[in-house]
Subunit: 165 residues, 6 copies
């Protein structure tokens, strides 16, 4: 048991919410190191750029010493290998999440037999919180301060102003 | 019990279907007034414009005296407050509906503690009817007359001709 | 709109939980009167008898003036008719609830065309609370005081002692 | 029982996977003829064109003598009628599939009362395989050779090169 | 295509409903012969005995010439082999059905690699009809004549009288 | 990170299957120690007694050095505390599993704020394997050797003989 146990927590995090941070917090108490792995999105344009999303994660994790954020391209199983880990964390909130996650876990297993996905459930009041819901509320000028870290709330306001909405 | 009970029924209604009208009909028998609240869509382009969607709802509700349609921008909980109500109606047809609706209800509760969401199930034969399915069928020239009010069927034909499809 | 609007809230309530009371509270603000309709269970033995369940509901509703509890036998649609209402309340907590409830709503609709089922979601922290979970926790000596009204917590302790567990 | 039993298997097949081929294989043992019906997509741009998708299906079915691929426009129920069949095949992999499929089956039933949808489950290891997952993996340079027929794997590589990714 | 295609439709059928008959009807148009396979229940007592359930199925199928009912013990895959078929029919009504059915289909596949399960959806108005719901309604004296064949409605009344309920 | 990380894996395990063992195997690679916690069932009679279930688990875990089995009574959160851990393992196979598990995780969280539930998905071919399915197959004389460890297969045969089935 000498080898350090690293857990990778991949996602788009567009943007990171208090629910994501809660998952990192929990994982950071179970494993020696937690790496949020922010994915480049190849298909649909993200609201925040890869650089913005990574920087917001870094800022949001500042109080969790054994957690950090890193962006990646390509397959997540390859990035996990590069980090020297086979433990992948995913958050589960709802049944629809679960089915997609199961599909993903099985596909990753097929792509790399060693990978193990473990699922964590966020704290009760974050159970129904999602990045898209945050973007939707911010888009119509709603207050998201109880849903995201302060750096994200600020970034959303700035983005909105930039768009002249 | 002197205060008039108003129920707000928010949605995109792109376009309104016989299922939506059935929900309004039911709500109109339970509450003093029902207001369909047609949302401006900030993210994806809708098939019908906000004006078109609102007008089609108005036409479709003509036979329900205590129901009307109104478009809104911003958070639905703010629009509800403006109307002086805390009762929100949502239709439920399928499990996937339900999970999204639950998320929305909880988020709205977080945004405004007073709001109460009540769910109604449409009449049996409208249980699997959705606006997107109506658009899909119309797009390939299928007959939607048993699925939507006449004004919508006409609008879909006109839209299709306009596109020269 | 002169006729009083009564809502019937049927169930086994074995025993009534804070989640059920929360549903009654919400319904009592929407309708003129709410009647909890406690069903005689014809199939499986209940933990509390019909009399006990009814009495516990009555005690638990004491602070909601326009709500009361009444036991019934036979079809719930017939009991609704007897009360002169066609509005039935049901609580929704989870997807599995929903599917069963949808089936029930459609069946009741088939048995009596006039009946309308409306679904309410309990307060956030009661979302995952069920009578069976309460019974399970009480059975192993767990503390249920934050899950049920005081009269039910007392009744569970007494029942447990009576069994000499 | 003299009339030949034809089964139609409609979809976008963007691209065809080993899971789809497995479904065709099963259907081909139950019915006299199986026709993959490749739909023109009217809404969102597909990754492969209608012609490419149809050709890839044709190549992939080469070893199943009583199966073939054909593209179509318009309602699938009309295409089924044209082929002289009322039996439609759909693959089921997950709960979310099922709900959408049920909706589709009921809608098709409404559009054409004669149509019957039968659902088949693919082989165990293809249960969580989807066209979109294949496209996602290929987009980041992952190996899809165990997920799709060789002609599709080649086409995905070529497409990727063409895009200069 | 000389070999007769037999489809086996296994279940408890306690009792057979109009939904089950509708599934048999559909299957009888696709296959040369349909055999309802009524399972001995080893775990929980059924409402009707194996003999009663089988006889009620036989009576209910009288108008479908290529369908019949037969009781069986042991694994359904072994009974299918005995009948010389590998095609198993199952009805799907709801998401919860589907998940259990998928599990069963995969398990049967494990027990006998040749078996193929095909799923059929009953007619719209039978979508939410189940044997247990029929028993529940009958138990409280409700009218089940639109839910089951006449022979079952009669048997339910007789059973109820026999019990002196 | 000096404190040993223990994970508790509670359940009825009536009987333990290859799916359960697979979950323990995975957990044993992530944590320093894994304790299967076999619950006394207070409600329904189990097929195997608490002693039998515990002994079968012990035998089945013999090749995983840092895993062991222990029976418990009372709340699982109390047993976790006694073992000095707050990490609880649960296996997830299907959507219906997930919803129940989520409810349980939230309830345990309410009972003991420190407890953290992590979910693991078993190996692909054990995804649809359950104790009840094993019991069902064994009850009709089916072969369960590829589904459970040898000690369980033997115990099922012996049980069956004992019953004179």
């Amino acid at each position: 048991m000498i080898k350090k146990k690293i857990a990778i927590y991949p996602g788009t995090f567009d943007p990171i919410t208090l629910g994501h941070i809660n998952i990192v917090q929990k994982a950071s108490e179970m494993f020696d190191e937690v790496v949020m792995a922010i994915a480049k999105d190849n298909y649909k344009e993200t609201f925040f750029s890869l650089e913005e999303r990574t920087q917001l994660c870094e800022e949001a994790l500042i109080d969790i010493p054994n957690a950090r954020a890193e962006s990646f391209e390509g397959l997540v199983v390859d990035f996990a290998k590069k980090l020297g880990t086979n433990i992948m964390i995913r958050g589960l909130r709802a049944v629809s999440d679960f089915e997609y996650e199961l599909q993903l876990a099985l596909m990753n297993k097929k792509l790399s037999d060693e990978i193990e996905t473990i699922f964590l459930v966020p704290r009760f009041d974050f159970l129904y919180l999602s990045s898209s819901m945050v973007r939707n509320i911010a888009a119509v000028g709603g207050d998201v301060e109880t849903l995201v870290p302060k750096c994200v709330a600020d970034a959303l306001i700035q983005k909105r102003r930039g768009k002249g909405i």
